[in-house]
């Protein structure tokens, strides 16, 4: 399995080598898509983790036990409304109904709470109105 998640590190833990443990002790592949530490020494990283489901669960539990918060990636796909031409092409590509055409107006709407960040729409949208923000 492969999954993207957001890790939030409180200031007390930002110095610890979590990726190292995830790889070494839990057999997980960790791909860091984005990472930053703010002036308050809080860290945020978007990572793609792949490996066995059980290893993944154990790895997550390990991170949580060390005070790392795991956030879902839900808010990360952004619909740039002014770039959207309201064509509707994304509606058949989006697997969850997060991007839908309202009928009869034919207006396109984005329901971010339904988005599972599969990123299919990033490719399918001709005007590049869908963006991934990490």
């Amino acid at each position: 399995m492969k999954k993207k998640i957001v890790l939030y590190f409180p200031p007390t833990v930002t110095e610890q080598p979590f990726t190292y443990y995830l790889i070494k002790d839990y057999n997980l592949m960790v791909n860091i898509l984005k990472a930053d530490i703010n002036p308050h020494k809080e860290g945020r990283a978007v990572v793609e983790i792949s490996g066995k489901e059980t290893d993944f669960q154990n790895g997550i539990e390990f991170l949580q036990s060390r005070g790392v918060k795991i956030l879902p990636l839900e808010q990360e796909i952004v619909w740039v409304e002014e770039r959207c031409t309201q064509c509707g092409a994304c509606s058949v590509i989006c697997p969850t109904g997060a991007l839908v055409v309202e009928r009869p107006s034919m207006h396109v709407q984005f329901y971010s709470e339904k988005c599972i960040v599969c990123e299919h729409c990033l490719q399918a949208c001709p005007s590049r109105a869908m963006e991934a923000h990490y």
């Binding site: 031409t85 309201q86 064509c87 509707g88 092409a89 994304c90 509606s91 058949v92 590509i93 055409v101 009928r103 009869p104 107006s105 034919m106 207006h107 396109v108 490719q123 399918a124 001709p126 005007s127 590049r128």
Partner: protein
């Protein structure tokens, strides 16, 4: 009802008395009041479309540098424009890609930037990096040029699209077992989706299916500014099969259009990228139809349920150039969100923006109502036949 002339309609527009409705609004009017009464009441019906139109581009006059230059190659933000014209003129095509674009080498390619995007950036007023080469002549000695340029710096810039506003179009599906990437978008395997691309009941040539009023010189909304129909478009195929209502059941007619790029806006000229296919330009076009008689209105009152498009397999039949179709489907069905092909229910999606088309039809309606946009009588209407083209002028 007695017939109306262009002059009479324009007089009413000038006086601010013209009754203008969109091609969507006119449908319930005709249903409720009948053709005769509506034809007497309505002067103009506005139609529109906003969709990807690959056969688009702009003639750019880049202005002479000092010393002067005969440009033989021109690049705008890395996208080559055809410079086989006079010294500093070039034609930038909407589907042109930067030289470094990998195309489909990393299949499917992304085509994030192309000629259509340069055109969008130009009308957005952005600075564009211009690179030009020449071999140098006695009168035009300069051989190299690199500078930034804006649309406002160019002496002239003319959008000239050789084929726009396709009258009707295929519904693309995929019968194969793998996802395919086409100009009809991403088509999922085994009839995973069906993509279509016209505005149906709002679309210009579907409301004047036999070309009674649209022709060379028809004044239109183009990319947010004012433009004109300049000719019939490439691949204009008026002899296509038609239903009893005159509406073609395959692609059929096309338009060539022209207008001053400097009047246009990025809202209605939009660079787009088709995964695995290429770059293009979405163009907004609005065309007014004068209601000269009951017949013009009958055509303009066409609704989605009366317009049919062919379902075509883009995995095999289309690329191999076989004319097979999987049947016909109405735009009312397409817009419902799903169609039935055989025993399969297939979700549908559009590439042409129906809300965009509705907005353009509304803007054009406002322009006409406010008295600032008069109708023009075409020099000749679009040919109804390609054999022995007769450049009919309107009586």
């Amino acid at each position: 009802m007695s017939k109306k002339t262009y002059e009479e309609i324009n007089a009413r527009i000038r006086a601010g008395e013209a009754v203008v409705v969109t091609a969507e609004e006119v449908i319930p009017m005709v249903r409720e009041q009948g053709l005769e009464e509506t034809a007497a009441a309505v002067d103009v019906v506005t139609t529109a479309t906003f969709g990807p139109m690959c056969s688009s581009g702009a003639f750019l006059c880049l202005g002479h540098p000092q010393p002067r230059m005969k440009m033989t190659r021109v690049f705008l933000n890395g996208v080559e424009a055809c410079a086989g014209l006079a010294a500093v003129d070039a034609y930038l095509g909407a589907t042109q890609l930067p030289q470094a674009d990998p195309g489909n080498k990393m299949y499917p390619g992304e085509f994030r930037y192309g000629g259509g995007h340069v055109i969008e950036d130009l009308v957005a007023g952005k600075e564009i990096f211009l690179e030009a080469e020449g071999y140098g002549t006695d009168c035009y000695p300069r051989k190299q040029l690199q500078k930034t340029i804006r649309l406002a710096d160019m002496p002239q810039a003319t959008l000239y699209n050789p084929r726009n506003a396709y009258q009707n179009y295929n519904v693309g599906v995929n019968l194969s077992a793998k996802t395919i990437y086409t100009y009809m978008g991403i088509l999922k395997p085994r009839l995973g989706n069906a993509n279509y691309s016209t505005a149906g009941q709002l679309s210009p040539l579907l409301n004047d299916p036999c070309y009674r009023t649209i022709g060379m010189g028809t004044k239109i909304f183009l990319g947010g500014g004012v433009g004109y129909v300049s000719w019939f478009g490439t691949q204009h195929a008026p002899e296509a099969p038609r239903g009893e209502n005159g509406v073609p059941t395959t692609s059929a007619g096309t338009l060539a259009v022209v207008g001053d790029l400097k009047q246009m806006t990025p809202r209605w000229l939009r660079g787009v990228s088709f995964m695995g296919y290429g770059a293009s330009l979405m163009v907004g076009i609005g065309i007014p139809l004068p209601i000269l008689d009951v017949e013009t209105l009958r055509y303009a009152a066409v609704s989605d349920a009366e317009i049919f498009a062919p379902i075509v397999d883009y995995s095999e039949a289309y690329p191999q150039g076989r004319g097979e179709t999987l049947g016909q489907v109405s735009y009312a069905q397409l817009k419902s969100g799903e169609i039935t092909i055989g025993d399969r229910v297939v979700p549908t999606a559009s590439f042409s923006s129906y809300p965009g088309a509705r907005e353009i039809a509304g803007i054009l309606k406002e322009w006409i109502q406010s008295g600032k946009f008069l109708l023009t009588k075409p020099v000749f209407t679009l040919p109804q036949s390609l054999t022995g083209i007769d450049y009919r002028s309107l009586v």
